[in-house]
Symmetry: C2
Subunit: 367 residues, 2 copies
DNA sequence: CTGAAAGCGCTTACAG
DNA sequence: CTGAAAGCGCTTACAG
């Protein structure tokens, strides 16, 4: 292959734009034009250059492009060690989906872990290296300093999750948790459960309150408005406390009822509470969780799943066509499992009730 | 701040090495020397330049450094959408820990998702962009084409997980699963369980066979050599099959015995089998899982935890000082929970037996 | 110890 | 439509 035609002198070195130019008998600017403004190149030249590009396996050196264009075509994504160990790997999945979708937008993703003591400094430095043009934010919360800082410094960004502090900012995509819970209620009504309670987090968190409002909306849809306080309980994200809260709730609701939960952790508490009360999961009591985690899957608990891949694609779009002024709210889907199925249960000898439903089918419900 | 001293003309633009040079009244080469060979710069000059660097908040433009040094100081990490949904997010955690440790090695991490149809092409292209110098591999399996290709093309890499096909290649760090299971057996012996069985995967997979051998070694340690076939069962990574296999195994082992499992999924099967047999988890039957997933934590199952952060740090070291010829095998630790505690259980009325142990303490056992 | 020169691989106006 | 020129921000020998 290494002939007189001008293949790179050092074969181990990758082909450069100059190698292609020599091989195709054009200047290197023309090669660049073939790459970046093919419409400005005559057809025969175009073809010849492209053939050489293919033959040499030439891929532009992105680092050089970045420097020259003064644009990295890359975005930073913060990764957080403390986020691990807690149930639900939504952000891990989001990172993966962001990576998968990156090439479709001519971009790539750089992960970084800012010092927890000074997160903003981590963003500042990452930006200053020129390795990224902006950021994809996730896990935004009240009082989050990042959005304002990015705004102040004219740094492009998009957020996965509403930017609570800045109502005028529309560069976010989020999942409509309330709509998800509402679907869950509709599903449980349809499945034939009598009373449908809610096991949520203590009020005050925007996400939790949103999910709770979905429960109320679902009841209203079904003509079961105005539930009294007895039909809801709350617990922090802790299994023992969730179990205790669920026990209180189930005791008040009675058999034949169901519980929609603000998280799979809470749902697991409901599962245990049902078991402790001697109730079969599904037939005697329905449970729906949130986030469709491994735990929900393993225990065959119906759960509300966030459309993460779609969120990632939307994030890229917002980032790269920043004139779309509207935020996007995606609707989650229900993954239906045996915890919300009222089929009569087999004798309790050898088979565990909540193992029976092996049909892990997915179903999209619209409220 | 923008004075006559030569701060960047366009304030919105970040400071460059030239701005620092002007401000400190030296040439830009000297600034570069301050950054890269401080020993070659006179003390007063050094101090003056550094002061200006701090004042201007100058951070070198990494893209320019990459181009000039012909070195990205970055490594690629493949991310895989199909790896999700299955229990255990070891690789997600590895990615995070790799990112956390990156700055300590003057590097950063670029994630990419190669086309599943042609993974090698994804690696080739990523490398050709000049954005990375090499790769961190994970999830290596028999017949994996990546290590050989990287070797053939002189691309630096390290693998998290043994490179099974290339015994002469030592650039890997892995976790000694066998040693982990052995610890699990020792722990169960100490906890007072009578017979200790093994619930593993069908033989033939290197990882699974390794874990099984740890069980045998643990029994030998305890002077309980030569278990007969009745003390082991196998199942694929599926909950229903695992439950069935565990039921057969528990029936043969009898109460007061324990089961070490090759995964948390299998351990969950054992938990259900115990429950179906009316046995209390912990007091009546001990269970130890593998990987310390969310599911193990949620169900209070003792599990063997891989030291992922240490694996990540080791990977960086191997990558950046490639003369360390020896592979590294790390020993996992046991996270002890109530599923392997033989304390007498409270009455089975309101409290679920496997919820009692709220002490999620960690303990490092060495065989 | 400090500064002038060359160049990493590419792109972007700008002439011809 | 094609090519000569300039330059992105930095580093690395190499003279002084």
């Amino acid at each position: 292959m290494t002939g007189l035609t001008g293949v790179a002198a050092t074969p181990s070195t990758r082909a450069t734009i100059v190698d292609v130019a020599r091989a195709a008998q054009v200047s290197r600017q023309t090669v660049s034009n073939v790459l970046n403004r093919p419409d400005k190149v005559a057809a025969p030249t175009l073809e010849r250059v492209r053939a050489e590009i293919a033959r040499l396996g030439f891929t532009p050196h992105v680092t050089a492009q970045q420097l020259r264009r003064r644009k990295a075509a890359a975005f930073g994504f913060e990764v957080n060690p403390s986020g691990h160990g807690k149930m639900g790997h939504i952000l891990d999945e989001f990172l993966v989906q962001l990576t998968v979708a990156a090439p479709d937008h001519g971009s790539h993703l750089m992960v970084f872990a800012p010092d927890a003591e000074d997160v903003i400094e981590g963003y500042r430095q990452t930006l200053a290296t020129g390795l990224v043009d902006g950021f994809v934010l996730a896990d935004t919360r009240r009082g989050d300093p990042r959005p304002q800082w990015l705004l102040d410094h004219d740094v492009p960004f998009v957020s996965f999750g509403r930017v609570w502090d800045l109502p005028d900012l529309h560069q976010w995509v989020d999942v409509d948790g309330g709509a998800g819970v509402r679907q869950g209620v509709a599903h449980l009504v349809e499945a034939g459960y009598d009373r449908i309670g809610f096991l949520g987090w203590p009020s005050g968190s925007p996400v939790g309150d949103d999910r709770r409002s979905g429960w109320l909306a679902g009841l209203a849809d079904a003509g079961r408005s105005d539930p009294d306080e007895a039909e809801a309980e709350e617990s922090v994200q802790d299994l023992d406390q969730a179990t205790a809260a669920a026990e209180r709730l189930l005791a008040r609701l009675g058999p034949g009822s169901a519980v929609v939960c603000a998280s799979d952790m809470l749902a697991l508490g409901a599962v245990r509470a049902a078991r402790n009360a001697g109730l079969a999961l599904g037939p005697d009591v329905g449970v729906v969780g949130f986030d469709d985690t491994d735990v929900a899957e393993a225990l065959s608990v119906t759960s509300i799943r966030q459309p993460i891949a779609e969120a990632a694609r939307t994030a890229w779009q917002m980032l790269l066509s920043p004139r779309s002024t509207e935020p996007v709210l995606l609707t989650p889907e229900l993954t239906v499992r045996s915890s919300s199925t009222r089929t009569p249960h087999p004798p309790r000898t050898a088979t565990d009730p909540d193992t029976t439903g092996t049909a892990h089918g997915r179903r999209k419900d619209t409220p």
